[in-house]
Amino acid sequence: MLKQRETAGAREDSAETRELTYAQAIREALQLAMNRDERVFMLGEDIGVYGGAFGVSDGLIDQFGAERIRDTPISEAAIAGAAIGSAMTGMRPIAEIQFMDFITLSMEQLVLQGAKIRFMFGGKATVPLVLRTPAGSGTGAAAQHSESLEAWFVHVPGLKVVMPSTPYDAKGLLLAAIEDDNPVIFVEHKLLYRTKGHVPEGYYTVPLSQSDIKREGTDLSVIATSIMVPRAIEAAEILAKKGIELEVVDPRTLKPYDATIATQSVRKTGKALVVHEAPKTGGFGAEVVAELVAGDAFDYLDAPVRRLAGLDVPIPYNRELERAAVPQVEDIVREARALVEGVY
């Protein structure tokens, strides 16, 4: 009896300080959403029996059955099309595209159909769809399994784009995305799946279009997305030993993007470095920079606003080249330091 009470007490404590991985946090959000709303279901390649290419949906088929955790044929166009169609007819689908690279095959359905339906039907039809997909390099999966294509979708009116960087945000943003009546592209990062963080039990949402300050600092604002958030924080800890304090801002939602937090941060620090994994040219970072220099931050800038992003190359298979193709911690340290010290 005593032992049982102790165990119960321990479980309560762990509710406060409980750590989950990013993948577990997403799975928990999926479970909560499906328990709460019977219209929510999942579809994708190998998400059922196999549990998903990265194990995110592991065990969900046992809990919710094959009707709600639907393994599909290998057709990304069909996955997107079926998801959009079911969303229009009253369901709240969560589609999974196994690798973001394969979203190329879903483009017609997503861009030409899903993004425009609510607009073209004058609001009489909505597409409450969430499309989850892992992006990013670092797994040695080469050029066709490593891309970061978020900027494409940011450019399409009618789509929302979310990129969580922590387990806490992943759970809260996914639940907010499922609640949203518009198609949301939910971009996960393969290397983040195993990262851990505090995640409250129970249902909560992180509002879309709300940036977050992940670390406070005074000398330079680093506005980073997805995997670049933990890398920026790591860089910040290194630079803190040299007396340089970085403020790390995570946009979290790329579209619709609210520049308020980044603007406030840059008004404080006077300097900004924008970091993302996707190639620099035409990347989301350009949007972040443009919002800063066009807005209230302009008069507070004390250095050129710089971008640190992936090279304009397909992700190489070779491990060293793969590493060199996207920003690493040491790159952020170098660029941040140069901006703060005015050596450029």
Binding site: G270, F298, D299, Y300, D302, A303, V343, Y344
Partner: protein, 428 residues
């Protein structure tokens, strides 16, 4: 123009070659591809060929000489041109050419730069770096002018300069390429005050309090849209009340009450009835204060300070008077604690004791109003169609128009006057 014959480089590490023999002589005509000379390195013996047709001129080396690679050893003067013509044109260039590294020469040629005009950084050979530096230097006169006209300064530096009315041209920049940073402007502003203090002018340096007053008054006056309302009150009843209470206080040994103390009580009472006057402006809304905390402006030798009587509306006159006296005393001796000057929601500034009839005051942000109180003096007033002599006092309320509209201010002042003229109304 004459074509230079250059000592060729045959291998990667070769630095010089020895002339074995000339196969032709000064003045000979040669065809392209003719053998000119035999040279040897420590490894091999090679022939040097004519790279074009013409007459050999200006041969500078002889058999047995050790010649550095790429050095000019003679010229082929093309047909139809005299050596004298060529020599002049070549002179300047050849001097420089001999002093430039091959890479530098190639870069200069590719960029159509005269290698002779490139300055050498080490005073000996012109290197690739010298050519690069030369290429980056603006050559066009207009460019130079434009460059010096335009000042390099960050947007933040420009904003601060604008706000402080500082001429950026006077500031030297510490940033990359001499760019003016925000810090440069900030650092520049302070010393100017001292620079401008010429000995002929009596400039008294101000202390921290004057600085704070100046900063806050300027800010409050610029940022708050002030509206002012002036009203007079008949002080007969208040003066009688004060007399009665002070007679009592004398017997009791408690504090005598001043007009200011009565006004603090009156304002505290009226503020509870007019919450908008007891409020603070914020960007996102109006903060309504629960208690009326009355600041009482106290003049000091070198400034002023505003101690606060907290929750004056609910305190008795004697308590307020005691506190006002105590705070005033503390203020005059600089012994006020921070808590005693903070948290005010309304201010009274009374200059009646200095004989001022009426004046207007600047609101003390984040408060929304301040009451400027003049002296009480006997005046002829018309009461019920008869002229009577009454002790009258004139007050001016300055109000923050973002919060307080005219009617709100008028109703508040009406209550103040009523409470002054019939103090017992506060007992309700």
């Amino acid at each position: 123009m004459a074509i230079p014959i250059i000592m060729p480089k045959f291998s990667m590490t070769q630095e010089a070659a020895t002339v074995v023999q000339w196969l032709v002589a000064e003045g000979d005509s040669v065809e392209k591809g003719d053998l000119l000379m035999e040279v040897e390195t420590d490894k091999i013996t090679m022939d040097v060929e004519a790279m074009d047709a013409g007459v050999l001129r200006g041969l500078t080396v002889k058999a047995g000489d050790v010649v550095p690679v790429t050095e000019v050893i003679g010229y082929i003067v093309p047909d139809g041109e005299t050596w004298e013509e060529s020599a002049e044109a070549l002179k300047a260039e050849s001097v420089a050419r001999a002093k430039a590294t091959p890479v530098a020469q190639r870069m200069a040629k590719a960029n159509m730069v005269d290698i002779g005009s490139v300055p050498s950084s080490n005073g000996q050979r012109i290197t690739r770096r010298d050519v690069e530096a030369f290429l980056q230097t603006p050559v066009n006169g207009n460019d130079v002018a434009a460059e010096s006209d335009k000042l390099r300064a960050t947007p933040a530096a420009r904003r601060i300069a604008r706000e402080r009315e500082v001429d950026l041209a006077q500031i030297s920049g510490s940033g990359p390429k001499g760019r003016i940073q925000a810090n440069d402007v900030a650092a520049f502003v302070l010393p100017t005050v001292q620079v401008e203090a010429e000995p002929a002018v009596n400039v008294v340096p101000f202390g921290r309090m004057r600085h704070t007053i100046a900063e806050r008054m300027t800010q409050n006056y610029q940022e708050i849209p002030h509206i002012t309302f002036t009203i007079s009150a008949d002080m007969t009843a208040t003066l009688e009340l004060r007399q009665r209470i002070n007679a009592h206080a004398e017997r009791d040994g408690s504090a005598r009450i001043s007009v200011t103390a009565v006004l603090a009580k009156v304002c505290g009472w009226a503020l509870q009835r007019h919450p908008l006057v007891n409020a603070s402006w914020h960007e996102n809304g109006i903060e309504m204060h629960d208690t009326a905390n009355i600041g009482v402006a106290v003049a000091l030798e070198d400034g002023l300070i505003v101690p606060v009587v907290h929750d004056a509306g609910r305190k008795g006159l004697s308590a307020i008077a005691a506190q006002v006296n105590e705070l005033t005393e503390k203020a005059r001796f600089g012994r006020l604690q921070p808590a005693e000057v903070q948290g005010g929601t309304f201010t009274i500034s009374n200059l009646g004791m200095f004989g001022i009839d009426q004046f207007t005051a600047i609101i003390n942000a984040p408060q929304s109003a301040i009451l400027a109180v003049g002296r009480t003096k006997k005046e002829a007033v018309v009461i019920d169609d008869a002229v009577e002599i009454r002790p009258m006092m004139t007050m001016t309320l300055s109000a923050d128009h973002r919060i307080i509209d005219g009617a709100v201010a008028a109703r508040f002042l009406h209550d103040i006057v009523q409470a002054i003229e019939q103090p017992d109304i506060m007992l309700w």
